[in-house]
């Protein structure tokens, strides 16, 4: 003990803190879940538009949103029991995506019912908002590749502002698969690698 000095101790503290900060703050399951839900919703909307079936779009999204919220709550409850460390970054991440989901719901619901936003502009607007979420998430996850996901969302959003047609639904679905479900799977794989399931503790 006498051999220890202040510099060594400070270096030790720094090393332990840096190592502890390098943990995955989230498992990415919610990205996969919401990606799948939205792709299913978009598929129904596309079929409805193409086949000219009389279905209320807002009701379709309401049903899918309720299913999504319930599944999210169930996943988060499961996560709470599995998580071995809670970080401030993880809490910011949760708040960020909750705020984004609420913003999208408000824009979608109010914009649709007041006709203030054209329904063909929704995918573009939502893409820009989702891009913002990914850009901030990149910092919170400490994963710079997520910034490219944000750029992809913004790029797709820009295209959809100019290209408004039924095919926009297909593009938006593809973006959901490529820039939401696949990144979610990548994050989940990384999380599983870092947090192997422990049953003996």
């Amino acid at each position: 003990m006498k051999e220890r000095n202040a510099e060594e101790d400070l270096a030790f503290i720094r090393r332990v803190m840096e190592d502890s900060r390098k943990i995955m703050v989230d498992d990415g399951l919610n990205y996969i879940l919401w990606g799948i839900i939205i792709v299913f919703g978009l598929a129904i909307i596309y079929i409805k538009e193409v086949s000219r079936i009389s279905l209320r779009s807002d009701l379709i999204w309401l049903i899918f949103s309720v299913i999504g919220v319930f599944l999210t709550l169930w996943i988060n409850r499961h996560k709470h029991f599995q998580s071995r460390a809670k970080t401030f970054a993880g809490q910011i991440l949760k708040s960020l995506w909750t705020a984004i989901a609420l913003s999208i719901a408000i824009i979608g619901l109010v914009g649709y019912h007041t006709d203030s936003i054209s329904i063909w502009s929704f995918p573009a607007v939502f893409s820009i908002i989702i891009g913002l979420g990914y850009f901030i998430s990149a910092l919170l996850y400490n994963q710079s590749w997520i910034k490219f996901v944000a750029v992809a969302w913004w790029g797709g959003g820009l295209i959809m502002f100019f290209w408004k047609s039924i095919q926009t639904i297909i593009l938006f679905s593809l973006m959901m698969i490529l820039f939401q479900i696949i990144p979610g799977i990548a994050l989940y794989k990384k999380w599983r690698k870092e947090w192997p399931a422990k049953t003996d503790d």
């Binding site: 202040a6 510099e7 030790f12 503290i13 970080t87 401030f88």
Partner: protein, 98 residues
């Protein structure tokens, strides 16, 4: 090499294992026992004894719950713990500057 002034140092924090506990819990808001054990690379018994000591000193708060019928302990630093650690680090920095 600058030796510690043992009159001024907080001896509860000063132990390497307890110092590591503080460092981990300053980085994450709360951590489960197995997470701490993994990061600190300590044995169950050694870590438990040191966590108990920090808890008794009022530096740590522990939440015990049953998950899948197995006990789980989650630790977080109390305000007193955070303040003491900050003072400890400030003390080290002062020693280095001397």
């Amino acid at each position: 090499m600058i030796d510690f002034d043992y009159q001024k140092i907080n001896h509860i924090i000063h132990s390497r294992i307890r110092l590591a506990v503080f460092a981990v819990l300053m980085s994450v808001e709360e951590a489960e026992f197995t997470f701490l054990r993994e990061k600190i690379k300590a044995t169950d018994g050694n870590l438990s004894a040191n966590l108990k000591r920090l808890e008794e000193a009022g530096y740590l708060a522990v939440k015990k719950e049953l998950v899948n019928r197995k006990p789980r302990s989650t630790y977080r630093l109390t305000e007193k713990g955070k303040k003491s650690f900050e003072l400890y680090v400030a003390g080290l920095e002062t020693l280095i500057k001397k």
